[in-house]
């Protein structure tokens, strides 16, 4: 019985079988052929090393002959800034014709997460937009120090920039980014809504209690009159600075929510947003964002940010006026602020080229172009802010008047987690299932736990 020989193994699997004529001939031919070359281990090793050497030479010569042009990758959140960024890139390319610039865009809400992930993954990212999430990057050594560039570059004068704003981009004394603008918060109100309700307009020395009372009366008027603003004021949450508290302590090492003032802040939020509903909780489920609710005429007063000016000018169908924030219950005025700027990734392959691009992105032309959305960081340009944004009756000077009162939040690496924790307990309070006192205690406890056990600081 025949059994097939395995041609790979080269073995006879048959027992007592007679080879075929074809196989007999082949065997005879093989018997006459010269012996096959014997590959020794030494020969194999020499061949392998030879191949490696050839590849290395080929690789070197290839990189010497075919140099790819330098391409810088710029990440930003896009939106209002995109046109100005493109113009800045065009200016940069005109001065550096051999360098390409590629844009990467990330949606606003997840911008920092995407930027961090891109840098961590070692993907090519050279220059990135930087704002209030600076701490997420600085603590992780994700940004390139700029002090050496500043020292060596005589063309760039850091002295023209507002010192306090430049300091926002320092981490442990090292400069890691540069600003082009200051984002400030004030209040904006619908003048027509106040006229319809017969209420006096807010004044610069208005207090938080007056603000709440105006909102209550406007809401009551809106309930009784179709076509009027339905709510007097709209907030995501009433800012803690009206009660003299803040999310974090000055040094960012522990929670700022403790004591009677913090409980009062939470109680007021629950009362106004959930109990009385004289304030609309904007941006939550079932509502639009803050500015849309205001522009649609549903809310008479909202917080306004410097980047809202363009939308207010173009989309509002009623007269609106900016006003400084009310004085808090502690008699102090405060407001949110941040800075917009750019930084260089610590993993960039082209630091010098990235520096030149960065200079263009934070330079005078960029700041002039973005005056509609942010107060310039250069002190010599701030005077032009009001001239550029000349909207009669709008009182844009409120943004400049808020500058002395702004409190920048500590730049911590756990910013996202702490903010999320704060939102969690705040929403829990709004559900009304637990006592606000217990919630404040647990919020303080959990925030301190996050800060003390954070792997980012160890």
């Amino acid at each position: 019985m025949w059994k097939w020989r395995s041609w790979i193994d080269g073995k006879w699997s048959a027992r007592g079988s007679r080879p075929s004529p074809l196989r007999r001939g082949r065997t005879a031919l093989l018997a006459q052929a010269p012996p096959a070359r014997q590959w020794s281990a030494v020969t194999a090793t020499r061949s392998f090393l030879g191949i490696l050497l050839l590849l290395a030479v080929a690789g070197c010569s290839r990189s010497a002959v075919n140099e790819e042009p330098v391409t810088l990758r710029l990440m930003s959140a896009g939106g209002y800034n995109r046109t100005a960024e493109e113009e800045a890139v065009a200016r940069f390319r005109a001065k550096n014709p051999g360098i390409q610039v590629e844009f990467m865009q990330a949606p606003g809400r997840d911008y920092y997460v995407k930027a961090l992930a891109t840098i961590a993954a070692g993907s090519d990212l050279d220059v990135l937009w930087m704002g209030s999430g600076f701490g997420l990057f600085s603590w992780r050594d994700a940004l390139l120090p700029l002090d050496d560039f500043l020292r060596d570059d005589a063309d760039f004068s850091i002295g023209l920039y507002q010192d306090a704003v430049v300091d926002w981009y320092r981490h442990r004394g090292v400069l890691l980014g540069l600003p082009y603008g200051i984002d400030v918060q004030a209040m904006v109100y619908n003048r027509a809504a106040f006229d319809a309700a017969g209420l006096p307009y807010p004044t610069p020395d208005w207090t938080f209690d007056e603000y709440v009372e105006m909102a209550r009366r406007l809401t009551a008027f809106g309930k009784m009159n179709a076509g009027a603003c339905r709510y007097g004021a709209g907030v995501d949450k009433i800012a803690p600075h009206y009660f003299g508290v803040s999310l974090l302590s000055e040094d960012g090492a522990k929670s700022g929510f403790h004591g009677k003032a913090a409980r009062e802040w939470l109680d007021t939020n629950v009362k106004l947003l959930r109990g009385e509903r004289s304030f609309l909780r904007v941006g939550a489920q079932g509502t639009l964002d803050r500015l849309s609710e205001f522009l649609q005429g549903r809310v008479a007063m909202v917080e306004a940010y410097s980047w809202d000016v363009g939308d207010l000018r173009d989309r509002a169908r009623f007269p609106w006026v900016l006003m400084v924030n009310p004085l808090g219950r502690d008699g102090q005025r405060a407001g949110w602020a941040s800075s917009s700027g750019f930084a260089i990734s610590a993993k960039t392959k082209y630091p010098r080229e990235a520096w030149h691009l960065l200079k263009e992105l934070v330079g005078a032309e960029m700041q002039v172009k973005l005056m509609a959305t942010t107060v310039p960081a250069r002190t010599d340009l701030q005077a032009r802010y009001l001239e550029t944004n000349d909207i009669p009756g709008a009182n844009l000077s409120a943004f400049l008047e808020m500058l002395p009162y702004v409190k920048i939040a500590p730049r911590i690496p756990e910013l996202l987690e702490v903010s999320q924790e704060n939102d969690y307990w705040f929403e829990l309070a709004l559900q009304g299932d637990d006592k606000t006192e217990d919630i404040m205690d647990r919020l303080e406890h959990s925030t301190n736990l996050i800060l003390s056990t954070s792997p980012a600081r160890q």
Binding site: L116, A120, A142, Q285, Y424, W425, E427, Q431, P455
Partner: protein, 348 residues
């Protein structure tokens, strides 16, 4: 001695290499990472059991809810009862009693101990709660399959109509239902307000209703999907003579369903149940991300969303890996329990 053949290994090599590179290595790496702290920027740092302790650990309460003496007495009573139950009682009631006594013991312990990460346990509870939709979805799938197994005009059209939601893109469904559940303008509350002036619940804004809203949406999306198709196939394998014989014996439709249809589709039920449990534990992320961002106040945050947040928002890779392995153990345990329970109930 015969040399082993090389051919099979050569044919298996691409698949094995791919498995090793994209499945086995990440699994082993994640297990190692679960014992480290790593934020992607600095090298991983060995922390031992810290990550697991931060998720599953307990600490002593500062102020116990009941006096310590009473607590110790209660615990001792529980232990004695448990020993008695195990040693003396026989029969099925033993399991129920043992579970009850264990529950009391755990309750007493929790008056003295509190979880280090109470939120993790809450999110685990959310994950289990959302699994409650699985039997409802399966029941709807079976019901639809039974109906669509009838010879009716336009049967294929009905099958297509019920199957369509399962092939529509997930994000589209979530955005659609986000508006359906809108408290002020949503379709459901608009209908409810016709009969009930106070209107409906604040679906996605309410901690009490958000999960129920997701369950309702999930039932709509999956009832007519792959499960219905599996049941249809199973129903078509049921011998019609069984129904005829039952009918001749005077059995009604419902009795026929319980005695014939339900046992005959039990293998399919077992399969769908296991796959549903695995999918249920792993799922919940996309709906939470699009519709509620895990809120309100963590009400729709599942374990998978928790893992995403820790890994890809806060960059706590070690903690996310540890949570992943805890999730794996839960899924494995439940699947084994389900397999053991169903094996005695499957009719072939």
């Amino acid at each position: 001695m015969r040399n082993k053949p090389l051919t099979p290994w050569l044919f298996l090599a691409p698949s094995v290499l791919g498995f090793a590179a994209f499945t086995l290595f990440p699994i082993v790496f994640s297990l190692a990472l679960a014992f480290c702290a790593w934020d992607l920027f600095r090298p991983p740092r060995w922390v031992g059991w810290d990550n697991f302790q931060q998720l599953l650990g307990f600490t002593v309460r500062e102020a116990p809810s009941i006096p310590p003496g009473l607590g110790v007495i209660l615990l001792a009573v529980c232990l004695v009862l448990a020993a008695g139950v195990i040693l003396r009682l026989r029969g099925g009631v033993r399991l129920g009693l043992a579970v009850g006594i264990a529950a009391v013991a755990i309750f007493v312990l929790l008056q003295f101990l509190e979880p280090v990460n109470e939120r993790f346990w809450y999110y685990t509870g959310n994950t289990f709660y959302l699994l409650l939709g699985l039997p409802l979805s399966m029941a709807c799938s079976l019901g639809l399959a039974v109906l669509l197994n009838q010879t009716i005009p336009g049967r294929n059209l009905f099958r297509l109509a019920f199957f369509l939601p399962s092939i529509v893109g997930g994000v589209g469904i979530y955005l659609l239902w986000k508006w359906i559940f809108n408290t002020d303008y949503g379709l459901i509350n608009s209908v409810i307000s016709l009969v009930h002036p106070a209107g409906g619940p604040a679906w996605l804004e309410s901690r009490a209703w958000a999960k129920n809203a997701l369950i309702i949406m999930n039932i709509w999306a999956t009832a007519g999907g792959a499960n219905m198709v599996l049941y249809l196939a199973a129903l078509q394998n049921v011998d019609p003579q069984l129904h005829e014989a039952a009918c001749l014996d005077g059995a009604g439709k419902w009795h026929q369903f319980l005695a014939i249809t339900w046992p005959m589709v039990s293998p399919t039920t077992a399969f769908i149940l296991i796959m549903g449990i695995i999918g249920g534990f792993q799922g919940g992320f996309d709906a939470a991300y699009v519709m509620t961002r895990g809120g309100p106040a963590g009400a729709t945050t599942t374990l998978s969303y928790f893992i995403y947040e820790n890994g890809f928002r806060y960059f706590y890779m070690g903690r996310a890996a540890a949570a992943s392995w805890i999730l794996f153990v839960m899924v494995l345990g439940l699947s084994l329990l389900n397999w053991k329970w169903m094996s005695s109930r499957i009719t072939y």
